[in-house]
């Protein structure tokens, strides 16, 4: 026990004497939260649209007005076919609406007319949303025309359903409330896996590990002494991030914050174990950083933080079952937005305990006091 105390004392002295450490602990989370939460936003507004109006009649004016006043579209140019294609090719316009000649005539005479929508689909999800918005606006327009012409009240129009939506758990579809808990997971993960691994490898790099290995220091004392500081710092970081999230984004705390910390405590043991494991087979901080980065980038991209796991192919979904980051992102969102409690998270917590034990067992077994 006393040995651990001396190691902890030394580690904290070194960590806080390191000039880049305090900024990492206090500035990085704030910057990451602010930048990522505002930037990683899937709501799409202000799509720029080119309108090619070959008709120019009253109805086409109305259609244009309706599109542009929706808030989703911004007119880039109203031009001819070729200029519009060029805008699409050079990324100046996201989509083109083409109203054919005789639009109004066809509409009045045949009761039927066509418009064309061309969408730049380089960014698939953006294109899908753009087409979706445009379709629903045009559909609405369509319905209004029929009502007008048939001179019916909206209510006794040809029988139809009226759908009403309510978004549960995030009623205003506030994207930041969805992202911030996930970004906090990334922060905690970075501290857990990166800093701990690099710290151990640093002893190898400067050669002090050899000196430690000829002392009667016990393997588990050394490991606990090395990892515990980062466990504490990462939990502190989580608390700090939650406070910033509350102050800046008014993050909802639907569930008990205790579950978040309980889960984080176990999750961090997993990440520290990963750092320790990587440190056992790397020799320099640079190597350890690259190897950790390799694992983390996969874990983070496949965590459901940016893209929903449900939309991944099935093989990828199966892989995410072994991704600790995915569990933490899920549990964070469940507790913070849905107010989930013990019954809902205990399975995930159980899996995390298994990960923690497994990964650390391998790491400790792999750690040697000999060279």
């Amino acid at each position: 026990m006393r040995t651990i105390f001396f190691i902890l004392q030394k580690e904290f002295l070194q960590i806080f004497r390191n000039k880049s450490m305090l900024p990492i602990i206090f500035v990085v989370p704030v910057v990451q939260l602010l930048v990522l939460a505002f930037a990683a936003n899937y709501e799409i507004r202000n799509l720029s649209i080119d309108i090619v109006d070959h008709d120019g009649g009253n109805w086409s004016q109305q259609l244009k007005g309706k599109l542009l006043s929706s808030g989703y579209f911004q007119l880039y140019a109203q031009t001819g076919d070729n200029a519009a294609f060029e805008d699409l090719e050079t990324n100046k316009a996201d989509l083109i609406l083409t109203i054919p000649p005789h639009f109004e005539r066809d509409l009045v005479r045949d009761g039927e007319a066509k418009v064309q929508l061309l969408v730049n689909a380089i960014n698939g999800s953006k294109a899908g949303l753009a087409a979706g918005y445009a379709q629903s606006i045009i559909g609405d327009f369509n319905r209004r025309i029929r009502l007008d012409w048939l001179a019916l009240d909206e209510d006794d129009a040809p029988s139809h359903f009226d759908m009403s939506f309510r978004y549960w758990f995030n009623p205003r579809l506030n994207y930041k409330h969805f992202m911030v808990p996930g970004i906090l997971v990334v922060l905690v993960t970075l501290i857990g896996a990166f800093l701990s691994g690099m710290n151990i490898v640093k002893e190898k790099e400067i050669g002090t590990i050899e000196q430690l290995n000829v002392t009667p220091i016990r393997k588990h004392h050394f490991i606990i002494g090395k990892l515990l500081p980062f466990w504490i710092i990462a939990l502190f970081e989580l608390a700090f991030g939650l406070v910033v999230g509350k102050l800046v984004f008014n993050l909802p705390f639907e569930g008990s914050i205790g579950w978040v910390f309980l889960f984080a405590a176990v999750y961090l043991v997993v990440m520290l174990g990963l750092g320790l494991l990587i440190s056992t087979f790397t020799e320099t901080q640079q190597q350890s950083m690259f190897v950790t980065w390799f694992f983390l980038i996969i874990c983070i991209l496949m965590s459901g933080l940016f893209t929903p796991i449900e939309s991944m192919p099935e093989w990828a979904q199966r892989i995410t079952q072994f991704n600790p980051v995915a569990y933490f992102v899920k549990v964070m969102r469940m507790v913070m937005l849905k107010g989930s409690g013990w019954e809902d998270i205990r399975m995930d917590l159980g899996i995390m305990v298994v990960f923690a034990v497994g990964l650390n067992a391998v790491a400790i077994w792999n750690y040697r006091k000999t060279v």
Partner: protein
């Protein structure tokens, strides 16, 4: 007669096909200053690492402070001090913090650490530098501090791997004063060096060539045996004989 501090019998370490240490056999008596010489790559560091429990031998036997180097490495570690080629104090800790840390992990009590720190700083005349970061000290001072910390837990044997590399002659002389002082207290000193004047300070020396011990005796006996005027000549004769 007390038991020897170190005994080895046919101690061998292979790395693949390469035999770094080839069946070396020797004894070091308690309180002796034993010089362990050899050219670079002769196998000195490998041998020393095996004796310290940092490296498992391929074959052969050895006992350090009476303990077996295969099965009782943790007991050996409690009784030895070690100072490696690489400087191994923490540069981002102060002199005092380094002393406290190493004292602590060797199991000294807080009171012992306080007393040792005072005595050690007094002896090295470093009271004023006690709260300075180690990185700010000159190399010679660092090495003396390193040695003093390596013996902070009063080990019975100290292993020194080229402790004076790159250090000026005056500081080297002071460093050897520290070594003599420890040896007078009965500590066994096992030291590797490339400085032949330092070899003359040892009670007995061994010279390794290509993983084998080719000569082992007191400096004067060796000079007589090889008909050489200085240890330098002895060393060159052995090292050249190989090529």
């Amino acid at each position: 007669m007390t038991q020897p501090a170190i005994t080895t019998h046919a101690l061998t370490r292979r790395f693949g096909d390469f035999i770094a240490t080839n069946a070396i056999t020797f004894e070091v008596a308690q309180g002796e200053i034993f010089g362990f010489l050899g050219a670079n790559g002769a196998g000195k560091t490998t041998a020393m690492r095996m004796l310290c429990g940092l490296l498992k031998p391929s074959s052969g036997e050895a006992r350090v402070a009476g303990f077996d180097i295969y099965t009782q490495t943790e007991k050996i570690k409690q009784r030895i001090g070690y100072m490696s080629q690489k400087f191994s104090l923490y540069e981002d800790l102060t002199v005092k913090e380094n002393i406290r840390f190493y004292g602590g992990i060797y199991g000294l009590s807080h009171r012992q650490i306080r007393e040792k720190t005072g005595a050690l700083l007094g002896k090295l005349d470093m009271e004023k530098e006690a709260n300075m970061l180690v990185s700010a000290l000159p190399l010679g001072w660092k090495q003396k501090l390193s040695f003093s910390i390596a013996v902070i837990h009063d080990p019975s044997i100290v292993f020194l791997d080229e402790p004076t590399g790159g250090v000026d002659p005056i500081t080297r002389r002071q460093f050897w004063d520290l070594i003599y002082e420890s040896a007078d207290k009965g500590v066994t000193i096992f030291v590797t060096t490339h400085y032949m004047d330092e070899a003359e300070y040892c009670n007995r020396i061994s010279i390794m060539v290509d993983g084998k011990i080719r000569a082992l005796d007191t400096p004067s006996a060796l000079k007589q045996q090889f008909g050489a005027a200085t240890m330098n000549d002895v060393f060159l004769q052995l090292a050249r004989a190989k090529s």
